[in-house]
């Protein structure tokens, strides 16, 4: 979208993007490079939200939440308490030999899934390694059957 100064037949140039974080009202200012005439395009909170639902940064939405990351739109848009945990930076625990042996006893088609469940649980609960004892604790906490 562009704005043209009808008198000068010039494309108006962007001057500033002013936004009110609290209300979601955004005003984008343009001026004619020839005659200096100024206009503002003002969006109400709903219009601002509609455009930002495209997942684009238009001012207050993304900037107010910090740096954009994966699934940013989903995380910003879901209401209430959600189940995801941002555990970026937490290292993956190491699997002990005994834990690997116990995992190997599970049917092959569930081993990947079970490994992921135990690894996630151990990481989030601060265990540096997955041992049979940690597996038992995780199993109790997750309500899993014997594995």
């Amino acid at each position: 979208m562009k704005f043209r100064c009808e008198e000068c037949q010039e494309t108006m140039e962007f001057v500033s993007n002013d936004t009110d974080r609290a209300s979601g009202v955004m005003a984008i200012r343009y001026s004619c490079p020839n005659c200096g005439r100024r206009i503002s395009m003002v969006t109400n909170p709903g219009e601002t939200q509609l455009v930002s639902s495209l997942g684009v940064t238009i001012g207050h939405e993304t900037l107010s939440e910090g740096e954009a990351g994966p699934m940013d739109q989903i995380r910003r848009s879901l209401e209430g308490e959600t189940g995801w945990i941002d555990d970026r930076g937490l290292p993956d625990p190491v699997w002990t030999e005994a834990a690997e042996k116990r995992l190997a006893a599970a049917p092959a088609f569930v081993q990947g899934m079970v490994r992921r469940l135990y690894t996630d649980w151990a990481r989030r609960n601060g265990y540096p390694e997955v041992s049979p004892a940690v597996m038992s604790k995780a199993r109790d906490a997750l309500g899993m059957s014997e594995m």
């Binding site: 962007f14 500033s16 993007n17 002013d18 936004t19 009110d20 974080r21 979601g24 005003a27 984008i28 109400n44 909170p45 709903g46 219009e47 601002t48 939200q49 509609l50 455009v51 639902s53 495209l54 997942g55 684009v56 940064t57 238009i58 001012g59 207050h60 900037l63 990351g69 994966p70 699934m71 940013d72 739109q73 989903i74 995380r75 910003r76 848009s77 879901l78 209401e79 209430g80 308490e81 959600t82 189940g83 995801w84 945990i85 941002d86 555990d87 970026r88 088609f109 569930v110 990947g112 899934m113 490994r115 992921r116 469940l117 996630d120 997750l142």
Partner: protein, 278 residues
């Protein structure tokens, strides 16, 4: 008021599409499993088909595009896992058979949490436009922001309704095809016929039709439907309550009881798709 940088909405949307293409460059085949009609067993079939495709050492992912009724994580035993966010994207859940799963279910706190979007600040009567855009964008994020890795097949479990097909095709012009699912009921066949015609008009390549919950012999009416739409019948999967129960417990029936007629039909469907997509 504070001053912020200029807005380049178009540039950002173009970059989003490029991000989808980059992410899916490591996926050999993307196939949508669709119907148009709810309750035809689409998710159950998707979970079993994913498990069946994985039995030949293929790497398989399932994207649950049913934002308000997600069930892929349940059927692939991937509940309880959460997406993990890293610099390269969100790690998907790992289901049985090592199927990678991304679903809205993984984002919700518990069974009693519904998908609810934050309050829309505009006119209530306009909110459906905002919601539609938002939900299309959720699909884009599932595609682009999930660390799918190298996959042989990515199955997209489509929600009921034909409208999401156009969204998917806009995001994925290289979509290899769609498998349409129907039951032998008149209502299902009517809806699926219209959804199939709509999908074709939108530019989708329909690989074929699967008759789910089939009676013992292939229904003549389903054959008429396939002929009318101009697509082959890929499989007739008989109704099997044990396969359904096992799958709903997170153990796709094709892995637990592969010798049942329903499991065999799904395994043959997987073989047929492998051949069609090779």
């Amino acid at each position: 008021m504070e001053s912020l940088p200029p807005v380049d909405v178009l540039g950002q949307v173009v970059a989003q599409r490029a991000a989808v293409a980059r992410r899916l460059a490591s996926v050999r085949h993307v196939v949508a499993i669709a119907s148009g009609k709810g309750g035809v067993g689409k998710s159950l079939l998707t979970a079993n088909l994913a498990a069946a495709l994985g039995t030949e050492a293929a790497k398989v992912g399932v994207l649950d595009a049913d934002i308000h009724g997600p069930s892929a994580a349940l059927m692939l035993g991937a509940r309880g896992q959460r997406p993990q966010f890293g610099p390269e994207g969100a790690r998907p859940a790992i289901g049985v058979g090592d199927v990678r799963v991304m679903s809205m279910d993984l984002f919700l706190k518990d069974d009693g949490t519904a998908v609810r979007w934050r309050h829309y600040g505009g006119l209530a009567e306009d909110s459906f436009v905002w919601r539609g855009t938002l939900e299309a964008n959720v699909l884009r994020e599932f595609l682009a922001d999930t660390e799918w890795g190298e996959l042989d097949y990515l199955l997209i479990d489509m929600p009921p309704g034909a409208d999401r097909f156009e969204t998917l095709l806009r995001l994925l012009p290289e979509l290899r095809g769609a498998v349409m699912i129907t039951t032998p009921s008149e209502a299902s066949m009517l809806v699926v016929r219209r959804a199939s015609v709509g999908a074709k008009q939108a530019g989708a390549r329909l690989l074929g039709l699967v008759e789910n919950m089939a009676e013992t012999a292939e229904s003549g009416r389903v054959r008429e439907l396939a002929d009318a739409v101009g697509i082959p019948i890929l499989a007739s999967v008989p109704f099997d309550p044990k396969l359904a129960q096992s799958t709903e417990n997170g153990r796709p029936g094709v892995l637990i009881n592969p010798e049942t007629p329903a499991a065999r039909a799904i395994l043959e469907l997987a073989d047929r798709l492998r051949g069609m997509l090779a």
